[in-house]
Symmetry: C2
């Protein structure tokens, strides 16, 4: 049997046909009609799901169901988006709406939860009894998997690791608080830290790498400069990894998951990011070396995690 | 049937016979022989358990088992204390040792986990699908209960909420990090904040309340001064409750438990603490009023929580 997973994003919607091994055998994408009503978006998703099934050459009877990962708080039991700032949905019955257009069971969850589930089932955290997946991207996303199941909290809104305050007075965060982890350790925060450092240190290689155009600084620039031996680049990277470790140690002290999976754009730095991160975390967690330590691993599934996780929602 | 619960503390050991309703029907305490080996402490606990059963007038056949709550990291499956800084235990097989002296099944868990379980079974969080119990005392203790079971993490060391960094640069914490929640929001932190404020504001009522003897300042002093309208007292209390809310919002954003139970010495301030705390938390949690909110309640079981929770370990 197969399952369809849909990753509903702010700019594009991706649907994939996923086999029992958690592999995508066929994938299609379309632009998301952002600003449209939930019923229009539901219609698009149903159409994309049918299209990916058709193009795969499979019959609809070979598909068990359709899972959707959506940004925001998803009541996965009732199939309703309780709240999504991305789409402006409040209490939108997305599952019911998709089912008007397609005759398969439909399942729904938050997109970061889907990604965490995917890494746990078919990615970096396979076989772990518990895992936390962290995405260092525009913001910081988080998902918790315990005993093979997504932990959502009583109101389905858990896992908002990015909105954990790590500084009493810090930059204002989109959530309304100050000093959230996201404002220090997201990819966006790294870019802003790199810009500030480049500005304050005109001799830094960073300025050469972007040909003096600050607008070209991205999440890779500081790492690239650091690899070339640039002092400013090294300082930015070291401080940034320190911020990442601050939040990570907090999460580990509370949840002690067997595995933490690091994904998102910044995770492309691989061991250059993970090696110092592991050292900081190992030195900082409560209990230290007297107890078994959480393993920190790189995400394996990249952008496909959302689809694979969403597809697996229908398997239970 | 009945269960014995033992709360093994650094200074005293308390054992209680607990009925099916989670009520203590008979209780005894003895000083803890701190500095002794784990086998001597185990012998004491077995003796105390037998004594409390004898004095209750019950037969040993009416007792299902004995549960022990111990400070530190407890491998509840193997019955071993992996690490306890309080006693200096490392890999100590406490359960096996107690069973040398008594012919009943013996169970073991961390003491804060026992307290959280007790509040969930017979206290402030009865009937909730998930709860987090926070103890604002000498340090900050924490326990997580999900679906009626203690969540311990893969290495049994989860729930260390007190060691969540909320300030980048703060006071050094006993755990080795800086800026831990415990250094801002424990009872000990409140006392230190009260002392500093009293010293800086000689006109404050705080100084009169303790007859100019700073050594007499305790966790109640600032609240007492604030209730009498003292500006310094009010400022200390307001800032302190802000720190409590900072960590609480972090925990809620990650776990979204249905109920948070606040215990420990500071919780004796009751609604004077909880009312402003609820307002801060409600305004600060991610998703705000678009989603159902976590309830914050006062602990109900006080010092008995450890015994009641430990007793319930043997019920499953």
């Amino acid at each position: 049997m197969y399952n369809v997973g849909i990753d509903l994003g702010g700019t594009k919607t991706a649907a994939g046909l996923v086999n029992e091994a958690g592999e995508i055998i066929c994938k299609e994408t379309m632009p998301t009609r952002k600003g449209s009503s939930y019923s229009e978006i539901a219609e698009d998703m149903a159409g994309l799901a049918l299209s990916v099934i058709r193009h795969s050459g499979l019959k609809i009877e070979q598909v068990r169901g359709i899972g959707i990962g959506c940004p925001g708080t998803a009541d996965s039991e009732k199939g309703i988006i309780l709240y999504s700032s991305t789409f402006g949905f409040v209490g939108s019955p997305l599952v019911k709406e998709v089912q008007k257009n397609i005759i398969l069971p439909v399942f729904l969850d938050n997109d970061a939860n889907c990604a965490a589930l995917a890494e746990s089932i078919a990615g970096a955290a396979i076989g772990s009894e518990s895992s936390v997946a962290i995405t260092l991207g525009t913001g910081i996303g988080g998902g918790i998997v315990i005993g093979g199941n997504v932990y959502r909290g009583f109101n389905y809104a858990g896992g908002e690791m990015g909105h954990m305050k790590i500084a009493l007075d810090g930059e204002a965060c989109s959530c309304g608080r100050k000093g959230c982890w996201e404002t220090f350790a997201s990819g966006t925060a790294l870019i802003s830290q790199t810009k500030k450092a480049a500005h304050a240190n005109p001799e830094s290689i960073i300025n050469k790498l972007v040909k003096e155009d600050m607008g070209k600084i991205d999440g890779r620039t500081a790492f690239e400069a650091a690899r070339e031996g640039d002092a400013t680049g090294k300082m930015v990277v070291e401080k940034y990894i320190g911020y990442v470790s601050d939040g990570l140690i907090n999460i580990i002290n509370i949840l002690m998951p067997q595995v933490v999976v690091i994904g998102g754009g910044v995770s492309n730095q691989g061991e250059y990011l993970l090696k110092p991160l592991r050292e900081l975390v190992s030195a900082g967690v409560y209990g230290g070396k007297n107890i078994p330590q959480t393993e920190i691993r790189l995400a394996k599934l990249g952008n496909d995690a959302g689809i694979i996780g969403a597809a697996s929602l229908g398997k239970k």
